[in-house]
Point group: C2
Chain length 315, copies 2
């Protein structure tokens, strides 16, 4: 069986791409490992235009239902390999392989985690990875930011507009960020406190985050009570498919694409957080938009080149 | 009163920008002439991710409610002039003027209409301006396309995947489009019929489109029964503010912006259909995403430069 399009990734970008692909009448298979991607575990979302507040999982479930109703096929699975053969692609999961005329890589970018027990359980319940998404919730509260690079300092500055107290926890002797961001952080005075050469050893909380255990005591205490914890220690874009397909990466390691999500490999289109199209601004709304764009380019590609794949494909 | 941000335009881009701007705590005024922009009159929308089907007006009303709840101020009005003075902007409507530190131009692009009686009344009820949005509804139906350029021929090819019969009505002796698109159109055979040197004189229908009256009779009849009419005779981006502010335009006459919606004039950010970011692919989801991006850049700009405007502003 040869699909017109295989979309890898079932987050906002992949689901939006599937909705559009089906409107273009592309015979589409969506394969994903973690349904809903990052959004599904983001908790309450207040910046999805059109919904004052919606649970991330619900939003993803609604997109999935819409994609299914439009005719998309959705399978759970981990894609381990994509191989280009003439004008066709072979997409391998751990259990099977399918043919495709075009491929959309909506594989996201893994935010680096602390990899501590309790971290996953409390994600969205005090533990967060996106200040612009979740910062405003902590008005007049005490929060900690783990980081040390520019993103974390910018994150602290963002949080300072809401939170009452912010601890910036860094392994280094001091944070390193653009001067303008460092200056701004200093301007917050005592509101921001830097805990240098310190790591989070433990995340404590039952139903929600209650406190952190630090590697180095602060004011004589290893335990630091906080309402929120933000982790900004970078992203790891997945390079697996880039290596397999010979895709070019940008200077930050993201898949390189033009405005229409075309790559250097005809027939391969990334979408969502797998690309860095908006300079690190990564939201559900941008992911969904880029998914729609990638589907449009895939449609254009399949209309022009799809028959070359049918000719070659034997299965 | 000096606003941090004035957003001109109350369509999907402007409303989404307002939602994001308020999350950034920018003191934001949204001024628009036609609430909901093109979307509000688009009828049922099936490609807004997360809603299997939603009325365009309802979607815009939901975004408006969300922007208001977030703290945005929304006023109805026609902005006739934007003037930059040092680091501030003066925004003039027909009745008043306000100060702003930054401006988002979510002014859309006027699709050219036929300017016939009944056209506005039947928009979304048989009369459409976007094949990708509304084409699939006409499966096995008879439709007409008014145009003659590349967009209209591509539109016909798109419609041919759904409709049973398509009339391409053009004032010219023949349509002019990219060879590949012309070839594809010819490949549809009798399904597509070209009515050359013909204009639509009248749009007939009570509650929905029923037929067209042509300037030149077809098979002895001036009246042509159709289920749908698509108009693809180009866009007219509004150059008023570009002229007033000295904004650069791209080769198609749209406001020129980088990926972050920054223009050659610091503090001015376009969004939505006013830019041509995705090569003519203009959807609610892309407009909303670009609105969010423009708000993010405006926030960044105001944080760095806003105080310079406060210093100058006397009102």
């Amino acid at each position: 069986m040869t699909y017109d399009l295989v979309i890898i990734g079932t987050g906002a970008a992949g689901l939006s791409a599937a909705i559009y692909a089906e409107r273009y009448k592309l015979n589409t298979l969506l394969i994903g490992e973690e349904f809903g991607g990052e959004t599904a575990t983001a908790g309450a979302i207040e910046n999805w235009p059109g919904n004052k507040i919606i649970d991330g999982y619900e939003l993803m479930a609604a997109m999935k239902e819409q994609a299914l109703a439009a005719g998309a096929e959705i399978r759970e699975g981990r894609v381990i390999r994509v191989k280009k053969k003439d004008a066709c692609f072979d997409v391998f999961t751990e259990k099977e392989s399918v043919h495709a005329k075009a491929v959309i890589l909506a594989i996201g970018a893994q935010r680096r985690h602390l990899n501590l027990p309790n971290e996953k359980e409390l994600t969205g319940k005090g533990v967060h990875y996106c200040v612009t998404c979740d910062g405003p919730v902590y008005a007049k509260k005490t929060v900690a930011m783990v980081g040390g690079g520019d993103s974390s300092v910018k994150g602290v500055n963002f949080l300072a507009e809401y939170a009452e107290k912010i601890y910036l926890i860094t392994r280094e002797k001091e944070p390193h960020a653009e001067p303008v961001n460092m200056e701004r952080m200093k301007a917050h005075g005592e509101k921001v406190e830097i805990l240098a050469e310190t790591q989070v050893k433990e995340i404590v909380g039952e139903k929600k985050l209650e406190s952190l255990v630090l590697s180095r005591s602060y004011r004589g205490e290893e335990r630091l009570a906080v309402d929120g914890l933000f982790v900004e220690i970078g992203f790891d874009p997945d390079k697996t498919f880039a290596d397999q397909l010979g895709l070019e990466l940008d200077e930050r390691g993201y898949l390189k694409a033009d405005n229409m999500m075309r790559t250097n490999v005809p027939g391969v289109f990334p979408a969502g957080d797998a690309v860095n199209h908006f300079e690190g601004f990564k939201q559900d709304i941008t992911a969904a938009a880029l998914g729609a764009v990638a589907a449009t380019s895939a449609y254009d590609y399949v209309r022009k080149n799809g028959s070359r794949c049918e000719f070659h494909a034997s299965a």
